[in-house]
């Protein structure tokens, strides 16, 4: 069912935010699941993210693909170029030289890996995007946000839960 409200609670420290997430995880507000929670924080904080449970990241597959693409693609590209050199005297050397080409393939493997990692980052993190209407500039300063989409009956219990954990500010909007 489509949720009717979006709620953002701002906390002054990770301790309180983590406790609030664990309470949601323990179903203390019925109809609100930890899967609905988005944690917004000014720093990278794997310990708090643990409270949210396992949420997969797939950027490494982009990296693998990019590395292989760079390695194999550059070998094909350079070999194709060298194959047109047949008109040149080669002095007994092979036209397509595996050993020296490997240096170039190695560099292109890294370049491919890095470029596709960037693409993986953009796809995985859903960038570019807009920060969202509820986004607070206080988050980039020092506060931690818990963002949820909920139905109207769950709003009041959720706010109480946030207050129980010393929420500094609550922002809400109606999803149209």
């Amino acid at each position: 069912m489509k949720k009717s409200h979006r709620l953002l609670g701002l906390f002054s420290n990770f301790d309180e935010a983590t406790k609030a997430i664990y309470d949601i995880r323990a179903d203390k507000v019925s109809g609100v699941s930890v899967n609905d929670v988005t944690l917004i924080s000014p720093i990278e904080h794997p310990e708090v993210e643990e409270a949210l449970g396992d949420r997969g990241v797939h950027v490494q597959f982009f990296t693998l693909f990019g590395g292989l693409f760079g390695l194999i693609g550059s070998w094909l590209w350079i070999s194709a170029a060298q194959a047109t050199f047949l008109v040149q005297p080669q002095g007994g050397k092979p036209v397509v030289t595996l050993v020296t080409n490997f240096v170039l393939n190695y560099e292109m493997m890294i370049l491919g890996g890095v470029l596709f990692t960037l693409i993986g980052l953009l796809v995985g993190a859903r960038l570019p995007s807009r920060p969202g209407t509820l986004y607070s500039e206080k988050i980039s300063l020092d506060q931690i946000g818990i963002l949820l989409e909920v139905n109207e009956p769950n709003l009041a219990p959720l706010k109480s839960l946030f207050h129980l954990h010393n929420v500094v500010e609550i922002r809400e909007e109606i999803i149209r």
């Binding site: 990241v57 240096v103 993190a125 020092d142």
Partner: protein
């Protein structure tokens, strides 16, 4: 005893720094540097103007302005290697220290990575300048021979092109990706054109858990790629020389020697820029003496490694049966290049011993002077790689003592102006200390201290208390 140890140890950074203050202090660099910053800009502009004028003269009159000699380009190539070397420490050290979770890197890695990018951009000028025929600059790029130029993929010069472009692209992306969260902070705290710029560049970063998870993994993967890449780049630059049979160049230790030299000059440059930024932006809280000491210790270790590789190279030439190699080495030590050679040895191997003394490591003016002289030594190293061999190679027509002309020196000076200008503009437009990572550093260190105090019977750890409730308004 334990708690005494915890409190008496000097911290890399103050653990009670409020996050709000971190934002304010770092973002202040975008508005309000000391007057010294503007003087540095003027110096760089003057150097750049000198270099540009010299290049115009060389363009008008030909490469004879650099010397009427087949190896008139040697100063340019020596300087090219110098700038490539300078680029190494920034990204390489940042990547290594990131992988091993050395958090003292956090206040200093951003400007070091910028140094890498701008050094590479400076280095790339020299292959073009040394061509003489600037209008054919694109001939240095290896491409499929539709123009009938038949690039030789077996040549280390082609490898250079691939390696340097890969390194420049990857380093610039590594710098940019690492800056994303800070660009969002800058977006939230600025107005006008800056807000528009940071809004565009931050790509709408808001710091949600999805973004942090992907960011963490992507950044680590990039760091892993950058380490072998950085090593390969300078090894390949060394192949420009080592793959030839010229005496003094055809040496198996060249690749590690080049990599060590690159790390060395990069570390020395990091010390110089560290001190300058600390002064320009009043960043004594972030670029602290304990962190300076750590970089100095690292530089000292690398200096000893470089010295060892130098001695290995001399020994293998001396005790081998390579008469020509021996002649070049003897020529360096006693001939026309002797002053430059012994200066290189003094600046590169003796002067670093100042870094072994704590009192000197903590003396900012001394460290500034030492770091500059170390880089003079490393520039001489590159000069000593290129020139003596060319002066005494197997071709009698190239025998000559290669003292560069004023035009060549002016172009080299101009490159310092170009690099300096790029760097100074960067630190004025972008946050050159990572705000989010300094916050992490402060936060995690505070937690660790509190936990350690609790273990020895102090107060219980206040997990997550990075700010007071009453401050959070």
């Amino acid at each position: 005893m334990k708690d005494i140890a915890i409190h008496s140890q000097e911290k890399d950074i103050r653990e009670d720094l409020p996050w709000k203050q971190i934002n304010t202090d770092i973002l202040r660099s975008l508005d309000n540097p000391r007057r010294g910053y503007w003087y540095s800009i003027i110096v760089c502009l003057v150097l750049l103007a000198i270099g540009f004028t010299a290049e115009v003269i060389q363009y008008q009159h030909g490469m004879g302005m650099s010397k009427n000699h087949p190896h008139m380009w040697n100063l340019y190539i020596a300087t090219f290697i110098f700038w490539i070397g300078m680029s190494h420490s920034g990204t390489l050290l940042s990547a290594i220290l990131h992988i091993v979770h050395a958090d003292w890197r956090k206040p200093i890695y951003r400007f070091a990575e910028a140094m890498t990018t701008f050094s590479l951009m400076t280095a790339l000028l020299f292959p073009v300048i040394h061509l003489g025929r600037l209008w054919n600059f694109y001939w240095v790029v290896p491409y499929i021979p539709s123009r009938g130029t038949w690039p030789n993929f077996r040549s280390p010069l082609s490898w250079d092109g691939f390696a340097i472009m890969t390194y420049l692209t990857s380093s610039a992306l590594f710098l940019y990706i690492g800056m994303l969260p800070d660009l969002a902070i800058a977006r939230d705290n600025t107005t006008g054109w800056r807000k528009r710029l940071y809004s565009t560049l931050s790509l709408g970063w808001c710091g949600n858990d999805r973004q942090w998870r992907v960011f963490r993994k992507a950044y680590m993967l990039m760091a892993i790629f950058l380490i072998p890449l950085a090593v390969s780049v300078h090894s390949i630059v060394s192949s420009d020389f080592a793959m030839s049979i010229n005496p003094g160049w055809h040496v198996t230790t060249f690749p590690p020697y080049f990599v060590a030299g690159a790390l060395y000059s990069g570390c020395a440059a990091i010390i110089t820029l560290f001190i300058l930024l600390r002064y320009y932006f009043r960043w004594e809280e972030y670029m602290t003496l304990p962190i300076l000491e750590k970089i100095c210790k690292l530089t000292f270790a690398i200096a000893m490694m470089w010295t060892y590789l130098n001695l290995v190279e001399f020994a293998s030439v001396w005790y081998g049966h390579d008469v020509y190699g021996k002649e070049v080495l003897w020529g360096k030590m006693t001939g026309a290049y002797a002053p430059a050679f012994w200066s290189m040895m003094f600046f590169g191997s003796v002067l670093p011993f100042t870094l072994a003394f704590r009192s000197l490591r903590r003396h900012i003016p001394t460290m500034m002077a030492v770091s500059i002289l170390l880089n003079v030594g490393m520039w001489l190293e590159r000069w000593m790689i290129v020139s003596p061999t060319l002066s005494q190679s197997f071709y009698p027509w190239s025998w000559d003592v290669m003292w560069p002309t004023l035009t060549s020196w002016a172009i080299v000076l101009g490159s310092f102006g170009w690099f300096g200008l790029l760097f100074l503009v960067f630190v004025k437009i972008f946050p050159s200390v990572s705000m989010y990572e300094v916050k992490e550093m402060v936060y995690h260190r505070k937690l660790a201290t509190e936990k350690a105090a609790a273990r020895v019977g102090g107060a219980a750890p206040a997990y997550g208390a990075h700010m007071k409730k009453e401050d959070a308004v």
